[in-house]
């Protein structure tokens, strides 16, 4: 079933379906893969290629890539490969390739995230859009009525106020790609306000007020609130919390990397939530898939990056 492109995407299956529909409509996304000698990445890319979602260009150690393809019985002829034995160099070349307009998505292979991020933010290229790259985890959680995003659990360790503003802006690009017009964002907090540090409180109030006064636009932001208040309006009322986002949040904005990372992973590990992750903030999305991601999660991550890339493309034309 091809979903209505105007409707917000509510489930991971729709996310993948929408990416397929985009590809069928001629928007097959080109992926520059940095240090592609990574079995999990090659496996995921091969599937994305078969499904018509992506067109990968690999940068990395050709012999290793071919050996992995043989081992996994993947058809190597579907990949174009540029040989670079040094992972750092491969990453830089993949980023340069994307910067030159030859790719729509950059994907991390067998190289550390920091090497890719540094290259993407380098002034040598024109990919830098803001000072902050941030990670958005989009989750399809059983028991919740729509996709629930968490940010940032992957890049910025303890964001400053300006970085938090960037993180929200970066999320808005993902929300746009998911067809969410005016996303509802809850700032994650503690069950009692007294447990929050005064400076964090002040920053939260400032951020919320910037959205209320129209200084920042494109989302309804409220909080801080504990996760139960964000997830249920009925529960929020028990706390005496009345919020326009309670019970219908699209995204949880978190104060520290471990809070975001741990809570999102708890939903994946304990509830079987389907996960798609993407790094945004540059002119192009950066896709990271992990060894421990399930096949379905890898597929969803590539689909998400494709939709974000297509959305960036639409915005710039």
């Amino acid at each position: 079933m091809i979903t209505d492109m105007k409707e917000p995407i509510r489930r991971a299956s729709e996310l993948i379906e929408r990416a397929r529909a985009l590809a069928k409509g001629g928007k097959r996304q080109r992926i520059a893969v940095a240090a592609a000698q990574d079995p999990d990445v090659l496996d995921a890319l091969s599937e994305a290629f078969e499904e018509g979602v992506a067109e990968p260009h690999l940068f990395g150690d050709r012999d290793k890539i071919l050996a992995i393809c043989r081992e996994l019985s993947l058809d190597a002829s579907r990949f174009s490969i540029s040989h670079f034995s040094d992972p750092g160099e491969a990453a830089r070349e993949a980023v340069a390739f994307a910067d030159a307009g030859e790719a729509d998505i950059i994907m991390k292979g067998f190289v550390s995230s920091s090497v890719i991020m540094k290259a993407v933010l380098s002034k040598e290229f024109t990919l830098r859009r803001s000072d902050t790259l941030s990670h958005v985890a989009v989750l399809d959680v059983p028991g919740y009525h729509k996709l629930l995003s968490f940010t940032d659990g992957g890049v910025v360790v303890r964001p400053s106020f300006d970085q938090r503003v960037d993180i929200v802006r970066n999320y808005l690009s993902v929300a746009g790609a998911l067809g969410i017009q005016l996303p509802k964002i809850a700032i994650l907090g503690t069950p009692v306000a007294a447990a929050l540090a005064a400076d964090v409180q002040a920053e939260n109030s400032r951020l919320i007020s910037m959205f209320r006064t129209g200084e920042l636009r494109g989302a309804i932001v409220d909080g801080p609130m504990s996760l139960d208040c964000a997830l249920s309006e009925r529960i929020a009322s028990r706390y005496g919390v009345r919020s326009p986002v309670s019970g219908d949040v699209d995204a949880i904005l978190v104060n520290a990397i471990e809070e975001c990372n741990v809570v999102a992973k708890s939903l994946i590990v304990l509830l079987g939530a389907i996960f798609a992750g993407v790094v945004v903030g540059a002119r192009l999305p950066v896709s990271l898939v992990s060894r421990t991601d399930t096949r379905q999660n890898k597929k969803a991550s590539i689909a998400l990056a494709s939709l974000v890339a297509a959305s960036v493309d639409r915005a710039s034309t």
Binding site: V141, P142, G143, Y144, G153, G154, V157, R158, L188, G189, T190, P191, V192, A193, A194, A195, L196, A197, S226, L227, D228, L231, S232, I235, R238, Y239, V254, N255, A256, I257, E258, E259, C260, N261, V262, V263, K265, S266, L267, I268, V269, L270, L271, G272, R291, T292
Partner: protein, 329 residues
Amino acid sequence: MKTVNEILSLLAGRDTRDKLTGVVFFPGEDTVLALKKAASLLPVEFAIYASASIVQEIETQLGNACHEFGQTKDPVRELSQCLLGKRSTGKASGDFGPCHFVVRGDFLSLDDAYQAISLVGSGQDIPGAASEVSPAGPKPERLFLSHVALLEAAALARVLVMSDGFVNPRPDIRTRLAIIGNCLSVCKAIGISAPRVALLAAVEQVYPGMPVTVESAEIANICKAGKTTRAHVDGPLSFDVALVEQVAKEKGATGEVAGNADVLVGSSIEVINGIYMAQTVLAGANAASVVVGGKAPLALPFPSDCVDNIFFSICLACLLSSHDLPSVA
């Protein structure tokens, strides 16, 4: 422990010549249902802070397992006194004995509970208690209080012990060591003899730019060096590496804890509270929530907790009331 319900078997196996007495602050409908279940299954009785009419109503439901305390205008002070072990459950005549555990009812605000816990933990004089604590007398005892939750993780077929989801906002190394101490007492009470404690972080590696990973490694080293218990403490560990053996193996994480953690210690309230809320609200997971380290344990269900989880919190508080909890300053 595979299910939170097993607390009942542990309580059943205990020597119970005397009934345990719990002081309940401002119960609402859900707490009353949980108290009723507790009174029918456990050797407990309750002294209740509520208006006379509500107490009478509850008394009808609970039979003679209920005593009236009447309304208090200063719940923070009363709760502090209970946690300090300075409050008997009797009326003026003292006819009811010591307070063994405390229960937060629906209408005691979390803010009041937090304030009382903070006062007890700070060792400050309790406001309004000047007549009881002489300025010239000894300073009030300082106790280390922390929040501990049990969470039934069906996907892992085991119960996780988690801390701290309410009391200590951003615990430093010393505080996290004390949190681990309180967790170990809970583990002992629920029959985990050699607990595996994971210090949660976003990653397993130590990065200088990620203070939580540095602190976790330091805590793990302190615990390894001064090993006095049968606990294994390791970190930093990410959530999946801590709990899933296969993931730990794939990521090359070795040691006793990776893949098999019994206890999860977070770097902030948001971490543990977030896990708890996600599982209880979205999946209806069985759970229990208590504050330990005081002279009497406090069952602290959250406003989002269902009747069953309020009941389990009461059961856990009962169980802990018979175990000595350390007062690590």
